[in-house]
């Protein structure tokens, strides 16, 4: 306790409450209210409606919801696959090569998302690989952007893993592939699920690279929300934003459930 006087403490809490309320509480409340409001002309919104949510799950917004979910699942699955392969291989290395490769796999997180989108656009609009105008280029953009975070989450999980189990398995004569499948992967599964959820959450909110590369017909939720709010259709945008935030939070909440289960096992 830093502040002992009752008055001082109340003062500190008041300042905290006002700051946190204005900076964080107000924006969240406002979007939630707008998504449910019939109209908003004065200080407070008027009329309660679920119509914006009905709009948000049908038509072009419904398609955006689907595109985002598919993109999130595909890109996260690819990132977990690639990140697991990289993290497992890097665990065997030491010294300089490991440090350099570690940095290499973390590098995408240092890149501006718009520039990653531009790079993909430049690279895959020409032979030998033509992806521009396809859905695959959106998957690629999301994969690159989340790959460093996925890799980081898996590396952190592997680092917590005691090598004892694998060494026992090895000393009992288990072959590497068998050991990987029956010992290592089951042990790191909670971390893989956590990495997947984090990747999915990040992919759902990705905007900078997506606006650079998305083909017509594959509009993700953030792009759709921008389009709606740009056209002034802000209530519809607010409802779609709430759905986006809810799916992100649901993905993250699943993370907090996983370690508890694995600890109980």
């Amino acid at each position: 306790m830093l502040v002992w006087s009752k008055r001082g403490r109340a003062g500190a809490w008041l300042v905290f409450g006002i700051l946190a309320g204005v900076v964080y509480g107000l924006p969240a409340a406002v979007i939630l209210c707008a998504s449910l409001a019939r109209s908003w002309n004065g200080v407070l919104p008027s009329g309660l409606t679920l119509g914006h949510y009905a709009q948000a799950v049908s038509g072009s917004s419904g398609a955006a919801l689907e595109a985002s979910l598919i993109t999130g699942v595909v890109a996260s699955a690819l990132a977990v696959l690639n990140g697991t392969a990289a993290a497992l291989a890097l665990r065997r290395m030491e010294g300089m090569p490991r440090r350099v490769l570690d940095a290499v796999f973390f590098l995408p997180s240092a890149m501006p998302s718009v520039s990653i989108g531009l790079g993909l656009l430049v690279a895959f609009s020409r032979p030998p690989i033509l992806l521009n105008g396809t859905i695959a280029i959106v998957f690629a953009a999301h994969f690159v952007l989340i790959s460093a975070f996925t890799f980081g989450a898996i590396t952190a999980g592997l680092a917590r893993l005691s090598p004892d189990y694998e060494q026992v398995a090895a000393s009992l004569g288990a072959r590497p592939i068998y050991r990987l499948r029956r010992v290592t992967l089951p042990l790191v599964l909670p971390y893989l699920i956590a990495a997947f959820s984090l990747s999915f959450a990040l992919s759902m909110g990705e905007l900078g690279a997506t606006v650079m590369v998305y083909p017509p017909g594959w509009v993700t939720m953030p792009v759709q929300i921008f389009g709606l709010s740009d056209r002034g259709d802000v209530f519809h945008a607010a409802a779609l934003t709430i759905l986006l935030a809810a799916s992100t939070l649901a993905a993250l909440a699943s993370v907090s459930l996983v370690p508890a289960r694995s600890a109980a096992r």
Binding site: M1, L2, V3, W4, R9, A12, W13, V15, F16, L19, A20, V23, L26, P27, V30, I31, V43, N82, G83, A85, A86, A89, L90, R91, R92, M93, P97, L101, V104, F105, S109, A110, M111, P112, S113, V114, S115, I116, L118, G119, L120, L121, V122, F143, P163, E166, Q167, A170, L202, G205, L207, G208, I225, F226, A238, T241, L244, A245, T248, L252
Partner: protein, 306 residues
């Protein structure tokens, strides 16, 4: 670069290989470090190849000759100078704001805890994963021309024009970025505060030190490394922020990422976009190097942060 690194790595693994029935050190559990090749190849195709092409396009003219002419041309435009000015102003102001707000909120959470403070600190990780433009959209409802503050002010003082218009200047962008990126400062700060012995503070205050003196002499010095880590991360993220600037759409407030988007998508001017992207990437890598070296320095001091 990738090939030589993985080559030498597989060499070291071969040297370490030993029969499976011996108690093996962890370094020899894998069949071989060649396993790094496929993921590295994937990253090479989708990340390094596009990156090299951006650099290539920025240095080669349309006739295929190496020149700096494109840089000279882009750097000379008012559009670029305007974008660079706004990027730097927004980056520095937003980072300063994040440090101030993050430090204040973290001090209360850690040292003047209230019921529910733990829940708040756990919510920070969730905030970090939410899309950044969410805040920009909320701000248009609150501070926008037709937003609730302007609505209230106009009806209260019977004005005909909305009196609050800071949202459509760079201040709107800065305020939104402070909101979004403050949690990135609070995370390492709260971690470093949890390492401070609370008894140290209680002894100091029982000896008569006032809260501000304890803040100045105990808490802030202990928080300095975490502030540096969080601050350098904020520099990196605010430089590259795109969604907030796009959503607020303030006239004349253009940053480098937004200018790249405009050049490539609105004007199909890929060569200018590549020059701008190369500059943005250089700036971004500089801040990233700062962030990583701060973390490495923290790691040496044994503070398990971030």
């Amino acid at each position: 670069m990738g090939e030589s690194a993985s080559g030498s790595a597989s060499g070291s693994a071969l040297a370490l290989a030993r029969p499976a029935n011996l108690p093996a050190p962890s370094a020899s559990l894998a069949p071989s470090s060649l396993g790094i090749v496929p993921p590295l190849a994937v990253l090479g195709i989708f990340f390094f190849y596009p990156f090299v092409l951006i650099l290539g396009q920025s240095f080669f003219s349309s006739h295929g000759t190496l020149s700096l002419a494109q840089y000279a041309e882009v750097l000379g435009t008012g559009l670029f100078r305007n974008a660079l000015f706004h990027t730097i102003t927004i980056t520095l102001s937003a980072t300063a704001g994040c440090l101030a707000l993050g430090l204040s909120l973290s001090i209360v959470i850690a040292f003047v805890p209230f019921p529910g403070a733990r829940i708040v600190s756990r919510m920070i990780d969730t905030f970090i994963a939410l899309p950044t433009f969410l805040v920009a959209l909320a701000f248009t409802f609150i501070y926008g021309t037709a937003g609730l503050l302007n609505g209230a002010a106009m009806s209260a003082f019977s004005l005909s024009l909305p009196p609050i218009d800071f949202l459509y200047s760079q201040w709107g962008v800065i305020l939104a970025e402070v909101t979004v990126y403050t949690p990135f400062v609070m995370r390492p700060l709260l971690a470093s505060f949890s390492l401070i012995d609370q008894a140290e503070i209680e002894i100091a205050s029982s000896l008569g030190a006032r809260p501000f003196r304890i803040l100045r002499q105990v808490i802030v010095p202990a928080a300095l490394p975490a502030l540096m880590a969080g601050g350098s991360l904020c520099l990196l993220l605010t430089t590259n922020e795109f969604g907030i600037v796009l959503f607020i759409g303030a006239k004349g407030v253009q940053t480098l990422p937004l200018l790249i988007y405009d050049k490539a998508i609105q004007e199909f001017d890929y060569s200018s976009a590549c020059v701008l992207a190369a500059i943005n990437i250089a700036l971004s890598l500089g801040f990233y190097a700062l962030y990583r070296s701060t973390l490495a320095w923290l790691g040496k001091r044994g503070a398990g942060l971030v």
